[in-house]
Point group: C2
């Protein structure tokens, strides 16, 4: 709120165009308009849709919504690299078909071993490591490893329009949470830096961890197990456990986000559901119904009837990645 009359007058004297566009990487069009209209309506005390700050909670999927997820979700690429690295040090760690396939970087073969195989591969990078050491390893990998096709590091492949949206919503009194199938400390390794989201506002899959005093030092150690997998119908569960209330805004991009959007947008009052549709094969990756990673079917079929915004990346985004010149 402005605190002096002369400030208010000074603002009134500015031409309207001088008020900064909060979403410069979004092209003018119905998507950008819908977002701004929603934010305006819930933040205007005179609007019938006004929502107090304590209820302005927005949740965002991460893979494919805030950063890219092709050809593999980044944490899976990281896990494969870690299996390879550990196997190079000690080949006896490759105790299963899933781990052997992972060490060869053959994700298709890992997938054939089913969800147990996947958890085993993910588990290796989470075994016998402190959360701090895990975060440091993830951060180093994300910020120094080149993505196979983009010419950028993984950390540079966050979506610039979405980082603007996060900041814009926070400026308007929202609390922004990540709600991802990825694990907590993988995202925490860079989320504050790249998204402005602090560690306490990360919801994700939770690995098991134990407390002990090692050489006189109280120590938490991740042991490679999984306590909670934050996917599909368990996303509303993870949100309710962590936040304790239903958000009013949800963004996702796959059918793994369907229940989150369904639950969030079914609440009373103003609600907003957003699905990022990966339509830009030139600048990013084009995929939806048939993709083995990040498939979107039910969301495409029902977005219209449910009033969810389908963001057309090719059409709606002036720029894709934050790390792009």
């Amino acid at each position: 709120m402005l605190r002096c009359l002369s400030c208010s007058l000074a603002l009134l004297a500015l031409p309207l165009t001088a008020i900064a566009d909060p979403l410069p990487s979004w092209n003018a069009g119905p998507a950008k308009t819908a977002i701004i209209e929603f934010v305006d309506s819930v933040t205007d005390p005179a609007s019938g849709q006004f929502v107090p700050v304590s209820d302005r909670i927005a949740v965002f999927d991460n893979d494919g919504t805030l950063w890219s997820e092709q050809p593999l979700p980044f944490q899976l690429s990281y896990a494969l690299d870690m299996v390879k690295q550990r196997a190079a040090e000690d080949p006896s760690v490759l105790t299963s078909d899933a781990l052997k396939a992972a060490a060869e970087g053959d994700f298709a073969a890992v997938r054939e071993t089913g969800s147990d195989g996947l958890l085993e591969v993910m588990g290796i990078s989470h075994a016998n490591i402190t959360p701090s050491a895990f975060k440091a390893s993830a951060k180093e990998w994300l910020t120094t490893t080149d993505h196979p096709t983009s010419g950028l590091t993984y950390a540079e492949m966050t979506y610039q329009p979405m980082t603007e949206l996060l900041r814009y919503m926070r400026d308007e009194g929202f609390t922004t949470y990540i709600v991802s199938g990825g694990t907590l400390f993988f995202m925490r390794s860079i989320a504050d830096e790249v998204y402005g989201i602090p560690p306490s506002q990360i919801i994700g899959s939770i690995g098991t961890m134990t407390y002990s005093v090692v050489d006189g030092e109280p120590t938490l150690t991740k042991d490679g197990g999984a306590l909670f997998v934050d996917r599909g119908p368990d996303k509303p569960v993870g949100i309710m456990n962590h936040i304790g209330q239903r958000p009013i805004f949800a963004a996702g991009n796959t059918d793994g986000d369907f229940e989150m959007l369904e639950w969030v947008t079914a609440g009373e009052g103003a609600r907003f559901g957003m699905l990022i549709h990966h339509t830009d094969g030139d600048r990013e990756f084009a995929y939806d119904r048939e993709s083995s990673v990040g498939s979107l079917n039910r969301g495409l079929d029902e977005a219209d009837s449910r009033g969810w915004l389908l963001v057309d990346m090719a059409e709606d985004w002036a720029r894709i990645w934050s790390g792009m010149e």
Copy 2:
């Protein structure tokens, strides 16, 4: 920050005694002094102990630290009442010795059935209920049920000195979390109202929950199972999962809080560990080493050598309960 010169001058003109005591229910003495000195040192940018707001994280056990826990932790009394209530409607729910003992209010007999029996009794009140309905039931019970000896409802038995401490620390830029063995939605039922702690800042035991669409309505349903029990060495685990960083201040009152204090106070920089010692049999309950509920042994033995503040309730608190006249 004061925004006008005349305000600053007005403040300077006040006698020092007119500056409000942030902890009026704490008697003058070493405990109160130690708390204020710690807060002053971490909030003064000129102090060598300065801690930025993002790291000013304080965690508080609930039972026996923020509200009473005798003759039974309140959530256990609630669970026994709920078993009794369900059994009155349908006696066939009493399928085990633990549940039969619970229906008779015989906690000693419940305890004899071991931790499985305890979880079963706790589970009944969490089975087949939405988080909202559970919260409403817990709130009604806490605010309308009379405690057996105090003459107050359970909700009135929060500690006035601790609610003042929570508010004081938040005013000084701290984020205050509850870290309890109690379950999330039991505490969330009144924590915002009685402690000023919002639902997202509650860490506790986590019940299992499933998502489904019931009669067209997206619905979360608690099913009575336990995902995570937030006790002893698992308190640091729960904190790290939820907050993602080590707090600088921890308060507890039993050996179930030992590891939390040990971990918090072992971090670098300014740290504060506090144990509430229940010394006041006249105004509250006097118990420590031999108590079947809330026993404190190792904490009493080691508080001094670890530099933890042992709060003497009889000596240090001018008032006990918030609901007391």
